[in-house]
């Protein structure tokens, strides 16, 4: 049995009970009474700001009123009408930056209506009952391919299936779900929720999922386009940006994405090695997820080093505070300069930064932190563009996800525009599905 103070990288720093406790739900679900109390706080605003703030335009005041009047099933239908992954979004959405930030009670009292938790209450009610509140339309005879079974792909597939099309979903990974399955902190998706959600979503029928099929490898875009009436690309960002500093090849320097993925797929948390001193390079949600989970696995010291100031950080203030409350140290204006150690990482050398005339530059002052394990969380990249036109480093799209190639749509993180959020991906998948449907059924 190891402890947080065991040197180097080691598994089982905490006992099984502590690990299990650490990885339970970040926010316990609301029970019926709590939901009633929380729902009563909604003012049922006119043309509500929370709806505007929601990338999927869920009619939030309506679903909350439906909860308040004892019909969470109807509330769930209101949510799923706009966002079929409303269950996952209730868990992972940065509501503090979206609906809850816009809530008028945030302005009035600094305490918004707990929209995220109420959404989970409603969606959990229906999903626990195994009810799929939508039926498929009469078959259209059209076949559509969706490449990527993450939030954008699943959202698109469900909407297309609902409209009567037959959908085949391809995914590179062994399991569908994309980042929901592999990329989100474990305490946000407990009890195998991502997999259960996919199973529930597919219960509408008309969706076939084929895993282990990566675009550009087993799967060629030309072949797919030739076999289907339309194709929706939602392959996400599979690559991880490299860290180009001295010592970046030392043992112990890893991708945060891989770490999170391994953690999500393990059956035994005590088998996962983690450093005594962990440094995460980056400033997004992935950095926070990796840092917090390192701490929860028993790392003694965990630091997030971000090269810019707090305000520029991709992770919300809420996420920053979440990290801090778990004992993660947040370092701002610090960029990696070198990683030292004999074969394995032992220290990281960080250079402090400043922004002058809008340009970030090193000040020359450096600090060294002990670091047995260093996670790169400095962004992800598109691995296969299928030969489509790009906008920057992502697939260029116009309208509801139309790419440069006729019959091919794209959405989610792989497509340009929009925030890289689950909820944005869901919206893009849904909207592309509607556009595909209109096109296939004789629209423009």
């Amino acid at each position: 049995m190891n402890s947080p103070y065991t040197p180097g990288i080691a598994a089982a720093r905490l006992d099984a009970e502590a690990l299990a406790e650490n990885f339970t739900d970040l926010h316990a679900p609301l029970d019926g009474h709590e939901a009633a109390v929380a729902a009563d706080r909604c003012y049922f605003c006119h043309d509500a700001p929370c709806i505007t703030a929601c990338p999927t335009d869920i009619d939030i005041p309506l679903f909350i009123r439906q909860i308040a009047t004892g019909t969470p099933e109807a509330a769930a239908k209101t949510i799923f009408d706009q966002n079929i992954l409303g269950g996952m979004c209730a868990r992972v959405c940065p509501t503090e930056d979206l609906c809850e930030q816009a809530c008028v009670r945030e302005l009035a009292e600094g305490k918004p209506v707990e929209i995220g938790r109420l959404q989970r209450y409603a969606t959990d009610t229906v999903m626990a009952a195994g009810v799929m509140p939508f039926e498929r339309a009469a078959p259209t005879g059209k076949k559509v391919a969706v490449i990527g079974a993450g939030p954008a792909g699943l959202s698109c597939a469900h909407r297309l299936a609902m409209l009567g099309h037959d959908v085949t979903v391809y995914d590179a990974m062994p399991k569908p779900g994309g980042l929901n399955e592999y990329g989100i902190a474990a305490y946000k998706s407990t009890d195998d929720f991502a997999a259960r959600e996919v199973e529930w979503l597919c219960s509408i029928g008309g969706i076939e999922i084929k895993t282990g099929m990566a675009l550009g490898e087993a799967l060629k875009l030309d072949d797919v386009v030739g076999c289907f009436a339309a194709t929706f690309l939602a392959v996400g960002l599979g690559g991880v940006n490299a860290l180009s500093v001295d010592g970046a090849d030392k043992d112990g320097v890893e991708d945060a994405v891989s770490f999170i993925e391994t953690l999500r797929q393990t059956d035994d948390l005590s088998s996962l090695p983690v450093g005594r001193n962990v440094v995460v390079i980056g400033g997004g949600m992935t950095a926070v997820d990796a840092a917090v989970q390192s701490k929860l696995l028993g790392a003694d010291n965990v630091t997030i080093a971000y090269r810019r100031g707090r305000d520029a950080m991709g992770a919300s203030r809420y996420e920053q505070d979440l990290a801090a409350s778990h004992g993660v140290k947040l370092m701002f204006n610090a960029q990696p300069k070198a990683i030292h150690g004999n074969g394995s990482a032992a220290e990281i050398e960080l250079e402090l930064t400043e922004t002058v005339d809008g340009t970030l530059r090193g000040t020359g002052e450096t600090v060294r932190l002990p670091a047995d394990q260093i996670f790169r969380a400095i962004g992800q990249t598109l691995t296969s563009d299928g030969g489509l036109e790009l906008d920057g480093r992502k697939i260029a799209v116009t309208g509801a996800g139309r790419t440069s190639r006729a019959g091919v749509w794209a959405g989610g993180d792989c497509a340009a525009g929009g925030d890289d959020l689950t909820v944005t991906a869901v919206a893009e998948g849904r909207d592309a599905a509607m556009d595909i449907h209109a096109t296939l059924m004789g629209g423009s």
Binding site: A36, V37, D40, R41, Y43, F44, C45, H46, D47, A48, P49, V104, R105, L107, A108
Partner: protein
């Protein structure tokens, strides 16, 4: 701290907060605890004639209406008068009164509409040393079917007759408790006065069905699958009670008749409002049933603080102060013109004022793309709905237009002189009011 001592019909109590005749005043144990908590007086749960007591239902007695977060807005009940032995009650009343001589002790009575029945019970009550009696002519269920309670209260002649008997066979103050389940509250009040009543108290509870169980199709509270109308009380009935109180206070035939105000008194403010409409004190039940006896402490501190702030040194100082300002619609000043004004700093942009005005009123609030809500004076009739639905207190207010200015809605100059419906030039039927 202002002096809250109240003299109602010569009955002194340390404050104007009495517990109404109801379950909280059913027995010695409760009443002693109520007095310890600070209540100024109690009206003991209604006594019936000697003999076997009434039997209550053995299922639910109460139904409820909730506001947000299950705030109790109204309760109805199908409980009857005391179901305990008459002599047990009388002995307890005597003991408690002896131990709390400074508190008001009123005995509520309901016996059949026969002179002998009253002649029998009144000396027994007199013997307890209680300060007065209240005649329960209001209970709307159960007892009314036996010719008592509201069955008496709905017939002014009976009220007058029974009141007369009571004044004849009882030496202390007689308060007649009125039922609101009647078209014109002034009639029974006048009858009570003619019968010699020292005061009226109102309102008793209102006929009501609070809810229907949609599974069993039974009204609630449901007794073995059946429900009946019960008596409604609590904050929800306060507006009805205050209107009835004001009518008695204003009517020339009953003006000056002391009133004990009942109906949804929940806070010191409610009590103050009843008193300004002419009540010498108030009676409380639902608030105590919802929150316990301790709630009187807030009523006492709040009323006292407000009186200090306003410079009132006694309850009598402001008793009836709002009566002269309570009038008939025809005397309202039609030359008074106000416009809604939204305090943009206080506004939280919920848009409820907009939805209310746009959908259901006069389309007098505009909404910008960035959710700024502004009143369109040319459309605003000052209906006040926006104020009513706004979740932020004092965010929207009604501001009177200065005489001499022009109302952009009508294009007319605001007159400084009073003009009511009967005199207003716009009213072609003015003479019909005479």
């Amino acid at each position: 701290m202002a002096d809250l001592t109240t003299d109602f019909l010569g009955i002194k109590s340390p404050n104007p907060f009495w517990l109404a005749s109801a379950p909280p005043t059913d027995k010695e144990y409760n009443v002693r605890r109520a007095f310890e908590a600070g209540w100024g007086g109690v009206v003991w749960k209604t006594l019936g004639s000697e003999g076997p007591p009434v039997v209550n239902v053995n299922g639910p007695r109460y139904g409820v209406i909730y506001g947000k977060d299950r705030t109790v807005l109204g309760i109805n009940n199908i409980e009857l008068i005391t179901d305990r032995d008459l002599y047990t009650n009388l002995e307890e009343i005597k003991r408690v009164k002896a131990d709390y001589p400074d508190r008001a002790m009123i005995v509520s009575i309901m016996v059949p509409c026969e002179e002998q029945a009253w002649k029998d019970i009144l000396p027994l009550v007199e013997d307890t040393g209680a300060d007065g009696i209240e005649l329960n002519f209001g209970c709307p269920h159960g007892m009314s079917e036996r010719g008592m309670g509201a069955a008496v209260g709905q017939v002014p002649e009976y009220i007058e007759m029974v009141t007369r008997w009571c004044k004849q066979y009882y030496s202390k103050p007689v308060i007649v408790k009125l039922t609101p389940n009647i078209t014109d509250i002034r009639k029974p009040a006048a009858a009570a006065k003619r019968g010699g009543a020292d005061a009226v108290s109102l309102i008793n509870t209102i006929n009501s069905i609070t809810s229907v169980n949609l599974d069993t199709m039974s009204p609630e509270p449901s007794i073995d699958g059946k429900g009946t109308h019960g008596g409604y009380c609590g904050p929800a009935v306060k507006p009805i009670a205050m209107s009835m109180v004001s009518e008695i206070a204003r009517d020339p035939e009953t003006a000056g008749l002391p009133i004990s105000g009942i109906g949804g008194v929940t806070t010191w403010r409610d009590a103050a409002e009843f008193i300004t409409l002419g009540c010498g004190n108030v009676q409380v039940c639902t608030a105590a049933m919802t929150y316990g006896f301790k709630i009187v402490q807030e009523m006492i501190s709040g009323l006292s603080q407000w009186m200090d702030e306003k410079g009132h040194t006694s309850i009598a100082d402001f008793c009836g102060a709002a009566v002269p300002n309570t009038t008939d619609w025809q005397y309202l000043n039609l030359n008074y013109i106000a416009k809604a004004k939204i305090d943009q700093d206080a506004c939280i942009s919920c848009g409820r004022c907009y939805a209310a005005c746009e959908d259901t009123s006069h389309q007098a609030i505009s909404m910008s793309a960035d959710r700024v809500f502004e009143v369109i004076d040319a459309e605003c009739v000052a209906c006040n709905l926006c104020v009513d639905v706004c979740p932020v207190e004092n965010c929207i207010s009604m501001v009177a237009m200065e005489p001499g200015s022009v109302d952009p809605r009508t294009g007319k100059t605001v007159e400084k002189d009073y003009a009511n419906w009967t005199t207003h030039p716009n009213n072609p039927a003015a003479t019909a009011a005479e």
